[in-house]
Symmetry: C2
Subunit: 415 residues, 2 copies
C-alpha cells in the first residue's frame, strides 16, 4: 500500500516551524509496511488545500493530513473536505462532552468558539482526540482512505497511534511489517557496509535492510512482511545473530534508542551509578542523559569544566598537567575522569576534552581533536578522536563516542 | 513572486531524516519577499521527480530543488531535468578543477565516479559548489526559474546564500524585503497580542507583522518591501520604538538569535563571567551556551547537581535546607546560586531546580514546578515557575526563563 502525507499550515511555508510531523508519520507508516510516495505542505488557503488533497488522492490510496483543524477562521481543512466530499456538519455529542470535560479539568469556561470544535461532517468517522479539542476524521471515499488529524504534534501522535493505526492495519490486510534493529557505533556507514557485504548479499529476497545513520552511530534495520509476528521476529533475530561475530565490537543495542538510553538502562539494571566531567561537550552528555525520565536513578551529576580554573578547583586536575600537557591531552582527561569518579562517588565517570572549533585549533592540536576517558573503580580507558565537521557535529560525535566507551568499559567488567 | 520548494530523496519518505532544508529555504525566501506556495518531497524515482517538477512549475514561477545530485545511480535529479528540458551533458572544466582541488586538499584520489560530477547540462547556468562536489544548476525556461541544489544542508546553504540569492534578487527586481526583529520572553503569544493590539492596528498597510513563538520566548518581526534599505530599516525601528514602552519588561534582544546568544554577548561585551548550577535542566543551559563559538570568553562552567549528594558536596547546599525545604525550593535554589558564584568565582551564577516529570510530582510540588535563582556579587533574585507540557518543553522553558532572569539582573546592575 502507498500513502501521501499532506501537512497544512502557513507556519510551514514561512520557515517558522520545521515539519517534524511528516518525518514522524513517514517513519510510523514505513513500520506498518506502507510506502510514502509523496509529502506535500500547503498553507491555510482553501483552494490550495483542495488541490493538494485531490493531487494526493490521485497519487496514493491512503492520504494522511495534519493541521488546519483549529476553531479560528484561518483553519480551513474542515470546510474544504466538506465541500470536496459533499458533507453536512452536525454537532457530535461525544466530541462535545470530551471538550467540555477537558475544559472543566483545566478550569476554563467553554466558549462558542470552542463548542464549534464539536461540529463534524456527517460522512466521516470521528477519530476522538484524547489530549486536545480538535477531533480527527476518517473519510472512506471509493477505495480512497483520507485520515485528517490536528497539527499539534502530541495530539497528532496520540491520535495516529490509537485511532488511525487500527484502521490502517485493517486496510492493509492481516499482514504486518515486522522490524528488528541493531544499533552500532565507532564505524562509518561505508565501512559497515563493506564488513557485512557477504551477509547482506545472502539475505532472503523478501527481507529488506536499511542503513539509518546519525552523527556518531548507525542503526541497521531488517524488515519483513508477514502474518505471523512471532515467527517473523525469530527469523530477523536469527539473521542478525549470524552477522554479529563480524561487528560485535561496534554493537550498542538491539533496541532502537539513543545511546544515552542504552547506557542509562544498563547502569540502572545493574544498580550502578555514573557521572560526567565535560569540557568541549559543555554539558551535552548530561543533557542527553537527563532528557530521559527516571535518569536520576543512576546519573548523579556533571561538572562542566569550561575553564582551567574549574578543572583545577572542582576536579582537582593538577596545574602541572594543564601547564605541561594542555587541557586537551590524554593526561588531563584521565585526571578529570579519575577525580570525577572519586569526588562524585560513582561507579563510572566519563570525561571529555577537545577542540570543537571553529576557532582554537593549532597545528599540534587541530579543531576536531578530542580526548575521552572513562574511569571505574579498577580501570581507566582513554581514546583519541579526530573528528571533522561543524561545531555541533563535533560536540554530538564526541558525546556519542564517550558514552560508547563507557558502555564498553562497563560491559567488559560485567563479564 | 511565488516559489515552490521540492526536496528529493528516499530518506525523506521513510522518516529517517527531518526535512530541515525546506524550513531553512522557506525562511530565507520569505526574507527575500518571495512567498512559498507549496513544499513537496518525493523519493529517488525518475517519474515521480519529473511529475513533481512539472507540478511545481505549474504552481509557481520559481522552483527550488534540493537533493538527488550525488554521483551514484540512485541520484536521479540531473537525468530527469536533462530529459525534461532537452539538454546534453558536457564536462565543465571549472567544476572539474574545483572537485580535483577539493580531493587534493583532503588527500583523496579522484575516481571516475567523482569525475562524473563535473558533467552538467548545456542549457543550465552552473552554480558552483565551494564546499562539496555536486554543482548546482539554474534553468531559465520561458519565465520559469528552476534552481537545483545538492541536499547536504551545509552545501545547500552556502550555495543558496552566495549563488542563488543574487539571481533571486535580480528576478524579483530591485526591491528588497527589509526585516527587523524584537525578541521577548516571559509573556505568551495571546497576552503579547492583547498588549500591543492598538499599536498593531495602526501599523501602515504595507508593513506586515509576524509572531514567531518558540518554547519560552517569542519573536516579533516587522517586514517592509522597499528599494531603500536604510530608510526601510529606520521606519521599522521607529515603529518598534513606539511599542517598546508597553513591553519593555519582556524585551530580550533586537537581534534575531537564541537567548543564550544574547546573554553571552552581553556578558562578553561588559567583561563579566558567569556559570550555572543545574538540577532539573540537567546541563541544558550549559549546552546551549557552549554551543556558541567563543563562549569560553565569559562562561566558566556548570555543576549539574542531579543528586542531593552533589548539591551538598559540590555546591555546599546545607543538608538542613534540603531536609526541611526539599531540593525544589526557593531556599535550595538560592544557596545553589550564591555558592556557585563563590566557588566558580564568577560575576553571575544561574541556578535551577524543579520537577520536569513525567514522574516525581506530589500534591505540594507538582510536575512543572521549577525554582530559578540568579546571584551576583551584591544581589540575588529568585522566581517560581509553574510550567505545563512534556519533559523536554519543561526543561527548555526553565532554561529560557533562567537565562532571561540573569539578563534582567545584569541589566539592572549595569544601569
Amino acid at each position: 500500500m502507498e500513502a501521501a502525507i499532506l501537512t497544512i499550515g502557513d507556519e510551514l511555508l514561512i520557515g517558522q516551524v520545521i515539519d517534524t510531523n511528516s518525518a514522524w508519520l513517514a517513519s510510523r507508516l514505513n513500520e506498518l509496511g506502507i510506502k510514502v510516495k509523496i509529502r506535500i505542505s500547503v498553507g491555510d488557503n482553501a483552494d490550495e488545500i483542495k488541490d493538494a488533497v485531490k493531487n494526493a488522492m490521485n497519487l496514493a490510496p491512503i492520504v494522511i493530513t495534519t493541521g488546519g483543524l483549529g476553531p479560528t477562521s484561518d483553519d480551513r481543512t474542515l470546510d474544504v473536505l466538506c465541500n470536496l466530499f459533499d458533507c453536512k456538519l452536525y454537532e457530535n455529542q461525544e466530541v462535545l462532552k470530551g471538550i467540555a470535560d477537558l475544559f472543566a479539568k483545566r478550569g476554563y469556561i467553554l466558549t462558542e468558539v470552542n463548542r464549534r470544535q464539536a461540529l463534524v461532517p456527517d460522512r466521516a468517522k470521528v477519530l476522538f482526540n484524547k489530549v486536545g479539542t480538535a477531533p480527527g476524521l476518517y473519510f472512506e471515499e471509493s477505495s480512497a482512505h483520507i485520515f485528517v488529524m490536528p497539527g499539534v504534534p502530541f495530539e497528532m501522535k496520540e491520535m495516529f497511534t490509537n485511532a488511525v493505526t487500527p484502521y490502517l492495519k485493517q486496510i492493509s490486510g492481516n499482514k504486518i511489517y515486522v522490524h528488528e534493529t541493531r544499533v552500532f557505533s565507532g564505524i562509518g556507514e561505508s565501512w559497515l557496509s563493506d564488513t557485512i557485504k557477504t551477509w547482506e548479499e545472502k539475505l532472503p529476497k523478501d527481507i529488506s535492510l536499511a542503513y539509518l545513520p546519525t552523527p556518531g552511530f548507525i542503526r541497521l534495520r531488517l524488515s519483513y512482511m508477514t502474518e505471523d509476528e512471532l515467527m517473523g521476529r525469530q527469523l530477523l533475530n536469527k539473521l542478525f545473530d549470524e552477522v554479529m561475530p563480524l561487528v560485535h565490537q561496534y554493537f550498542v543495542s538491539n533496541i532502537d534508542e539513543p545511546i544515552a538510553a542504552t547506557l542509562l538502562r544498563e547502569m540502572i539494571s545493574s544498580g550502578k551509578t555514573f557521572c560526567t566531567a565535560e569540557s568541549c561537550t559543555g554539558g551535552f552528555i548530561a543533557h542527553q542523559i537527563t532528557s530521559i525520565p527516571g535518569s536520576s536513578a543512576a546519573f548523579k551529576g556533571s561538572v562542566v569544566a569550561y575553564s582551567n580554573e574549574i578543572k583545577q578547583n572542582f576536579l582537582n586536575v593538577n596545574s602541572e598537567t594543564l601547564l605541561q600537557k594542555g587541557a586537551v591531552s590524554e593526561e588531563t582527561v584521565k585526571e578529570m575522569a579519575a577525580n570525577a569518579l572519586k569526588l562524585m562517588n560513582t561507579d563510572y565517570a566519563i570525561a571529555v576534552s577537545g577542540i570543537a572549533g571553529p576557532g582554537g585549533g593549532t597545528a599540534d592540536k587541530p579543531v576536531g581533536m578530542v580526548w575521552i576517558a572513562v574511569a571505574s573503580k579498577n580501570n581507566i580507558e582513554t581514546q583519541e578522536l579526530k573528528l571533522g565537521g561543524p561545531r555541533d557535529v563535533i560536540i554530538a560525535r564526541s558525546a556519542v563516542s564517550a558514552m560508547f566507551l563507557c558502555l564498553n568499559v562497563k560491559r567488559k567488567e560485567d563479564k
